[in-house]
């Protein structure tokens, strides 16, 4: 592969900010976010797309950023944990729910879990506990045993934020 083919120019909108880069074509989106954008809140926990620690939103849909090449995200809007913003001291209801209900311990899976839950509530604003369990089954947590994560997401359901799409920070 020639150098020209190997490096590809991409343009992303990351947490509302436009970003251009020339990336090695094989670079995973998660590595691009962590190492080029320096957004280290998105984590890596496996190499088989099972754990979900790398979950981000791509054009509003949750995606495991280890299953996406950076070049595939060209032209997309990506939201990471750093891009969430809400009325609870800066936290969204989902983030605040995790704080209120002890939905995290070591915190390593947490950003991915929060992004998956955020996406779930966009699609299903009022899920039951069982629906939450199915909705986050692509994300592994080894610390909590999940019950408090389910309660965290329910907390967010019961504390809806004022209707707006500013859950995702729109900074210039």
């Amino acid at each position: 592969m020639s150098e020209l083919e190997r490096y590809v120019d991409i343009a992303l909108t990351v947490n509302g900010r436009r970003s251009r880069a020339s990336v090695d074509a094989r670079t995973l989106l998660v590595h691009h976010l962590r190492e080029h954008e320096r957004l280290t809140g998105t984590h890596i926990g496996c190499d088989t797309s099972n754990c979900g620690a790398c979950t981000v939103l791509i054009d509003g849909q949750s995606a495991k950023s280890c299953t996406v090449l950076a070049v595939q995200a060209d032209g997309s809007a990506v939201t990471t944990i750093e891009g969430l913003s809400g009325p609870y001291d800066g936290f969204t209801a989902v983030q605040e729910g995790f704080r209120q209900c002890h939905g995290l311990q070591c915190g390593y899976c947490t950003p991915g879990m929060v992004m998956a839950a955020t996406s779930l509530l966009v699609e299903h604003p009022d899920p039951t506990a069982d629906e939450i369990r199915l909705g986050i089954e692509g994300n592994m947590c080894r610390c909590t045993g999940y019950q408090m994560i389910v309660e965290s997401v329910r907390w967010a359901v019961e504390h809806p934020e004022p209707a707006s799409d500013d859950q995702v920070k729109r900074t210039a």
């Binding site: 590595h31 088989t48 099972n50 950003p111 947590c141 610390c143 909590t144 999940y146």
Partner: protein
């Protein structure tokens, strides 16, 4: 108002929820290079050649190292004579994944490319992956100099054959406690930065001082120029207190390259390179009378150590033998164990470390006695419990004296919460209805040894000592920084220890901040393991805070011209009892504490800094009663947990919310062991078949039930908090509750025991065979 016992929200969370935590792989200093290890593809082989020439020529490669480059360095610490583990495999590889070479390149992609280009030739040797294979006649020896694959044997003094014969009945059970993987979601990672003035090493580790002590010695540098930092740590569960070769090699690479070198393990690497847990086989013989009274227990343990004995791995069977009788008063108990090396990943601590194995077996035995006598399992437990009046209770092993407990009360609370009698009635009704799912009810009255520990206990596992340290530093504004030697990985030290300090000091929770995990700033420390955080480290915080308060009262009394004995402290101020108007703020006292002119003559500037090393006179013994109700689909064999009741006794609870979280997490791992997880190898070649999260079944939210938590409290007399520890409880108690429930459901099919993990297929076959 006391904060100890309150459901306080965590200080850690805003950082971790906003993506601003700092895990090792988040760090990226200038000129940071990346290391990738080349693991053995063979379970047991002679290395015939290593050719690194192709790798060296590849883009971005800074170097390739093999055992030949480490001849000047010692073997890894903790090895027994004749069982030494070199940092990189030398001539022989003994398990798949054992690091043979390491490549450093400009980034992780280039390092992975070059690692794949390192050519290693092997000449296969016969492989043993199980205890039976390794102990068979003619088995290939892993360490020929030792003359055997059996590393340690502790025989029993009395085989109890006469006592077993004398009982009304006797039974034998062979239990395999399968090999599990800890799987912290953050795998191993380290970043070594060797500069002319010394080494700074960031590592995801449960015991940074422990690592510092051994790393400095291995590198032959002074401990004072070897700084180890454990930043945010993404779970550990015992797997991050192990001497992984990567931790020792990375600093050497950094030194030679004069660049920071980072290593961040992939999950596929972690599944074969991070230590595994459990992997014991128990041969159990029990003698019991018709009334369900257990008369004698013979408990023979075999421990699979994996390829290289870890200091903790060697100790697992000791802990199992200590806890063999659980919470029962058994007149005759005899234990023995042997430990065996095999061509598998080394085995070390995994949540509970030797105690889940003991609890599982004794709780299975009690159920077997119930089944054989036709008595209710709850009744058999009651008839054999150590009574609450019997504490302190001396067990069959001299160092083990149970501190306190109330096993009948815990069981009664568990039965109440799970509506036991109602469930039994429902079960009986369902047994007559072939269309209804099977119902099974399981109990587990477990007990573990924790709060490590009394002097000498952790030293046996290679640690410097068994105390834990705390230091309280009052700042000039009256806020406090509390340093602790135990370094957390999800336990919530920043919150619980601030609660303890706040109660003692009268300084508000928001003005107390914890620091840990850095050998350059924290005194000496031991680590976070063995359910010791609150009993040992928390007690250190409490006692240090009390000493600081005593000094602060002297200063406050001097400033108020009052007697220190008349002072009370609350809400960041000191008051003269009965004269609330006469007071001075903590801030004023703290400010004065640095000004010699304002101090009483017996005190000097800086006297509101204090530290101590908290020793424990003995262990603690958390206990509990867990109940599990399962439904089994007769057509698929699928087991569904419909109720999981968890009654814990951990002594004093600092924060019920966090305590519950610890129990949930441990129970999830216990259920996972019962139903899902097992590390497996191909029999003849020792190839791991569970080397990714596709194959190793870590449960998700959809696989696990809701939990119902209950609590009883008996205080631990061995530490000033009265706390027993909570970190391992769930993993100790849950497996037996689940398996007992499944066996109970299948009892009408003649089932007396099933080994873990109980798969739907195994259950389905039992149901099919009797249809």
């Amino acid at each position: 108002m006391s904060l100890v016992g309150a459901r306080v929200l965590r200080k850690e969370d805003p950082r971790l929820l906003s993506g601003t935590g700092t895990f090792v792989d988040d760090l990226s200093p200038a000129r940071c290079a990346f290391a990738m290890f080349v693991g053995s593809s063979e379970a047991h082989a002679r290395i015939t050649h290593i050719d690194v020439r192709a790798a060296l020529k590849m883009e971005g490669v800074l170097g390739v190292w093999t055992a030949a480059d480490f001849v000047d360095y010692p073997d890894l610490p903790g090895g027994l004579d004749g069982l030494e583990r070199p940092a990189l495999a030398r001539n022989i590889v003994r398990f798949v994944g054992e690091p043979v070479a390491v490549v450093v390149a400009e980034d992780r992609y280039l390092a992975a490319d070059a690692a794949a280009a390192v050519d290693i030739g092997y000449e296969s040797l016969p492989v043993s992956t199980t205890i039976d294979e390794a102990c068979a006649d003619g088995a290939e020896l892993l360490f020929p100099r030792r003359g055997s694959n059996v590393i340690t044997i502790v025989p029993m003094l009395d085989d109890l054959e006469r006592d077993l014969e004398r009982a009304d009945q006797r039974a034998h059970l062979r239990i395999v406690n399968q090999r599990c993987a800890a799987v912290p979601i953050e795998a191993m990672a380290c970043l070594a930065d060797w500069k002319p003035d010394g080494l700074t090493m960031w590592a995801t580790f449960q015991a940074p001082h422990h690592l510092r002590n051994y790393l400095a010695s291995w590198l032959d540098i002074a401990q004072s120029q070897c700084r180890v930092i454990a930043p945010d740590v993404g779970g550990g569960f015992g797997s991050k207190i192990v001497w992984y070769p990567e931790l020792f090699i990375a600093p050497v690479l950094s030194k030679q390259l004069r660049r920071p070198v980072k290593f961040s393990q992939t999950r596929s690497e972690a599944m074969v390179q991070m230590a595994h847990g459990r992997d014991q086989v128990h041969d159990l013989d029990v003698g019991f009378d018709r009334d369900g009274t257990i008369k004698a227990l013979r408990f023979v343990i075999s421990q699979n150590l994996g390829a290289y004995p870890d200091p903790t791995g060697l100790g697992l069977a000791v802990l199992t033998s200590w806890m063999a009788a659980g919470c029962y008063k058994i007149p005759k108990v005899s234990t023995s164990f042997r430990t065996v090396v095999t061509n598998t990943t080394p085995v070390a601590a995994y949540r509970g470390a030797g105690r889940p194995e003991a609890a599982f077996s004794i709780e299975r035995i009690v159920d077997l006695v119930a089944q054989r006598t036709g008595l209710d399992p709850a009744e058999v437990r009651r008839r054999n419990f150590i009574p609450p009046s019997a504490f302190p209770y001396e067990t069959h092993n001299e160092p083990v004296v149970y501190d306190s407990g109330d096993f009948p009360a815990a069981l009664a609370e568990c039965l109440r919460l799970m509506r036991y009698d109602e469930r039994r009635a429902e079960q009986a009704a369902r047994r007559n209805d072939p269309t209804a799912p099977l119902l099974g009810i399981g109990l587990s009255c477990w007990l573990e040894i924790a709060g490590f520990g009394p002097n000498g206990s952790l030293e046996g596992f290679g640690h410097l000592a068994s105390w834990e340290s705390a230091q309280v530093r009052i700042q000039p504004d009256g806020s406090a920084i509390v340093f602790v030697g135990s370094s957390p990985h999800g336990q919530g030290h920043e919150t619980t220890f601030a609660q303890i300090a706040s109660d003692e000091l009268g300084i508000s929770f928001d003005r107390i901040h914890l620091r840990f995990g850095d050998t350059a700033t924290v005194l000496q420390g031991i680590g976070t393991m063995g359910s010791r955080g609150v009993p040992t480290s928390g007690s250190a915080v409490k006692m240090t805070s009390a000493r600081v308060l005593a000094r602060a009262k002297k200063i406050a009394a001097h400033l108020l011209e009052a007697s220190e004995h008349d002072l009370e402290v609350a809400d960041d101020a000191f008051f003269v009892r009965g004269t609330p108007g006469k007071n001075v703020s903590w801030g004023d006292v703290a400010w004065a504490s640095f000004q010699p002119l304002r101090l009483p003559p017996e005190l000097q500037a800086g006297s509101l800094e204090e530290h101590l090393y908290q020793e424990s006179p003995n262990f603690s013994y958390p206990s509990g009663a867990y109940g599990c109700v399962v439904e089994i689909d007769r057509d698929t064999g699928e087991v569904s947990i419909v109720d999981m009741v968890l009654v814990d006794d951990c002594g004093t609870v600092i924060n019920p919310l966090l305590a519950e979280g610890q129990v949930h997490g441990g129970v999830a791992q216990g259920i996972a062991q019962a139903l899902f997880e097992s590390v497996r190898y191909t029999p003849d070649t020792g190839q791991p078949v569970t080397a990714s999260l596709l194959d190793y079944l870590v449960p998700t939210a959809a696989d696990l039930p809701d939990y119902t938590a209950g609590r009883i409290t008996t205080l631990c007399p061995n530490n000033p908090l009265g706390a027993k520890g909570i970190g391992e409880s769930g993993a100790v108690g849950a497996p037996a509750a689940v398996v007992n429930a499944v066996v109970d459901a299948l009892a009408p099919f003649g089932v007396e025991h099933l080994d873990m993990p109980i798969s739907p297929e195994a259950v389905w076959r039992i149901i099919q065979e009797t249809r």
